[in-house]
Amino acid sequence: MNNSSEISPDTVRAICAAHAHRRGPTLEILHALQREFGFVPSSALPVIAEELNVTRAEVHGVFSFYHDLRDQPPPRHTVRVCRAEACQSMGARAVWDAAQRAASTTPSVEVSEVFCLGNCACSPAIQVDERTRGRMDPGRVTGIIEQLDREAS
């Protein structure tokens, strides 16, 4: 993953070209950019619009609709905490509070909410980068976040 905060228009065009043959490529192109660079810089949107021959408003509309897409470089690690019902029933509210508290002092870790990770049978669940972890409690989630931050610094 390349973390510079600008992406050259040519790079964006190349990614567009790689997906242009697919049916309905806009979201796929946004995904590809985010996969490659960790985020979708707002400067890329007009380039995509031009390449796909649609309005900037349309591309921006797609970008802004989806929770996953981001316009800022990502932190080193993301921890997504499930706040949905099966996790709530096993103490997810306390896990969420603890995660937020821990993240306030760990700049390399971003904590965000998610609604169900499909891990409801071993709840509460979190997803650390791409890895799902089950049966969380406030102490464990705090430990995981602090550990990630130590490793990152």
Binding site: R22, R23, G24, P25, T26, L27, E28, L30, H31, E58, G61, V62, F65, Y66, H67, D68, L69, A84, E85, A86, C87, Q88, S89, M90, R93, V114, F115, C116, L117, G118, N119, C120, A121, C122, S123, A125, Q127, E130, R131, T132, R133, G134, R135
Partner: protein
């Protein structure tokens, strides 16, 4: 010695990889097969050992238990700590009928060779030898209804696509599985992805489609990896491609990953998203079956629906229709979770009483405290008190009891639950995930949170309950889709069955209202 260890993401979330690594280190000569999960999640990490044609289970295991297990196995000792015996017998003993998830946790996921060894592709082979109409008829005859939530008859949907004179046609698998408390799609895709692929192929044969799409939620990176490998192996073996199993028919599948929007599980929103757009709900009609993906006839089916189809094609739907009750035929892949002692995937014939599932199979709460509430059918499902545990889990009976089976999620809460918080959350969730097209859903839900808070604070309780009632009425009647339309269900059921959680003045109101 052959050992089976799940690579299912939930099993891994509680240590299955560590157990597999310990086994590999301590038993270098053993063959370790990574499978999906059997869905016996309270026993995970569950290791299975092949013994005289049976699979014996040991779980839950920690890496520290591995040495002891290997020593006992070497000594021919098949009992001891963690031994659960023949896993298939265990499932059967619970009354499970694994017609859809039978290979989950058994096969090496995504291997065509292993899939065929366990009966895979027989349904597709039958379908390829039949007329498209006969394939549709088999599905209609089975009584199969969509498992994604709405329970629409699958044969009827396929018939419409079959009869629509337009091309190309598409098969879209709804793998968005956004409902909280559900994981059957994930478990199937991670454990037996070829069943889904075979189901999509059969759908393609039935309606005359050559291209399929799997719309997978982004929260499932492991399922994505397994599906990709399965697609590659299927192409390699000529199951997908220009000449499906030598039939001269063409079919291929592309995976598209969602981007974190609950509403994209609704089929028209999903199609918008698949076309690369904002996931805004479309007006129906036209039905997706007539004008779906890029306005072409499209079958949209849930993962479990499609994965059930290969079995249906084995015997013209006869054994499928022999299970279940009334108009709810076949099996419910119930996902029992939350605060329950034995959480897991229970594939049971439709019609089991809710209380039997939760107490007899599930063992009651995990905390040991009394069970107090249960939410069935995802975030839009009603909250039931224990007094409604005799409600039967089939579409009609459950709807009569005021509930909805939906995708089959059953979330259990003990007596520490606060239904005020749960109702508030339902409204909050609706506000967060609304696509924004209808005002009652977009704005009303935020309003709903405030009104619920006012009731809880004891401010003008009587008049605020009326405001909430009106709001729910409006959401239920004018919303374009079920997000706005059904959010009143959890809210109103919480208020009705658990009034004391809101405010002491609520009980009296509720009692007069429901006299």
């Amino acid at each position: 010695m052959r050992l089976f260890v799940p690579a299912d993401s939930t099993a891994v979330s509680i240590g299955a990889d560590e157990v597999a690594a310990a086994l590999a280190a301590r038993a270098p000569d053993a063959e370790i097969v990574r499978t999906g999960s059997r869905g016996l999640y309270w026993l995970e990490p569950l290791v299975e050992v092949e013994h005289e044609g049976r699979r014996l289970g040991f779980g839950p295991l920690a890496p520290a238990d591995v040495d002891g297990l290997l020593e006992r196995l070497a000594a021919g000792q098949l009992d001891g700590p963690g031994a659960v015996g023949d896993v298939d017998q265990l499932l059967a003993g619970q009354g499970q009928q694994r017609i859809t998830l039978g290979r989950c946790g058994v096969v090496a996921p995504g291997s065509v060779a292993d899939y065929e060894r366990h009966g895979g592709l027989a349904g597709l082979r039958n379908a390829l030898a039949m007329t498209p109409q006969a394939v549709v008829d088999a599905v209609s005859n089975s009584g199969l209804r969509g498992r994604g939530g709405a329970g629409f008859p699958t044969g009827t949907k396929w018939q419409t696509v079959h009869d629509t004179d337009d091309s190309p046609k598409f098969i879209v698998c709804n793998a968005d599985e956004g409902d909280s408390g559900t994981f059957a799609d994930r478990m199937l895709m991670e454990g037996d992805p070829l069943a889904l692929i075979e189901g999509m192929l059969i759908a393609g044969v039935a309606v005359g489609a050559e291209q399929g799409y799997i719309y997978l939620r982004s929260e499932y990176p492991d399922a994505l990896r397994v599906l990709r490998a399965a697609l590659a192996d299927a192409r390699e073996h000529g199951v997908l491609g220009d000449d499906v199993l030598g039939s001269g028919k063409r079919f291929d599948i592309e995976i598209r990953v969602g981007a974190g929007a609950y509403i994209c599980g609704e089929e028209t929103s999903l199609l918008e998203s698949l076309e690369g757009n904002r996931g805004m709900i479309r007006y129906k009609p036209p039905l997706p079956a007539i004008k779906g993906f890029f306005e072409k006839p499209t079958v949209v089916n849930n993962v479990i629906t499609l994965a059930t189809v290969p079995g249906v094609l084995m015997d013209n739907g006869e054994s499928h229709k022999a299970l279940g009750t009334g108009k709810s035929l076949g099996t419910l892949t119930a996902q029992l979770c939350g605060n329950v002692a034995r959480p897991g995937l229970y594939e049971i014939p439709f019609g089991m009483p809710l209380g039997t599932l939760i107490n007899d199979l599930g063992g009651g709460s995990a905390s040991g405290r009394p069970v107090r509430a249960v939410q069935v059918g995802g975030p839009l499902g009603a909250y039931f008190p224990v007094s409604k545990f005799d409600a039967r889990l089939d579409y009609e009976s459950f709807a009569e009891a005021g509930g909805m089976i939906g995708h089959g999620g059953v979330v259990v809460f003990d007596d520490t639950v606060d239904l005020y918080q749960q109702a508030r959350f339902s409204m909050e969730f609706c506000a967060k995930e609304s696509c924004g097209k209808c005002t009652p859903c977009r704005v009303g839900s935020t309003r709903g949170v405030e009104v619920i808070d006012r009731i809880h604070a004891g401010t003008d309780v009587e008049s605020n309950i009326e405001v909430l009632d009106d709001l729910c009425e409006t959401m239920a009647s004018v919303s374009l889709c079920a997000l706005g339309g059904l959010t009143p269900f959890p809210v109103r059921s919480a208020l009705r069955y658990f009034p004391d959680d809101f405010h002491t003045a609520v009980r009296e109101h509720v009692e007069t209202a429901h006299e």
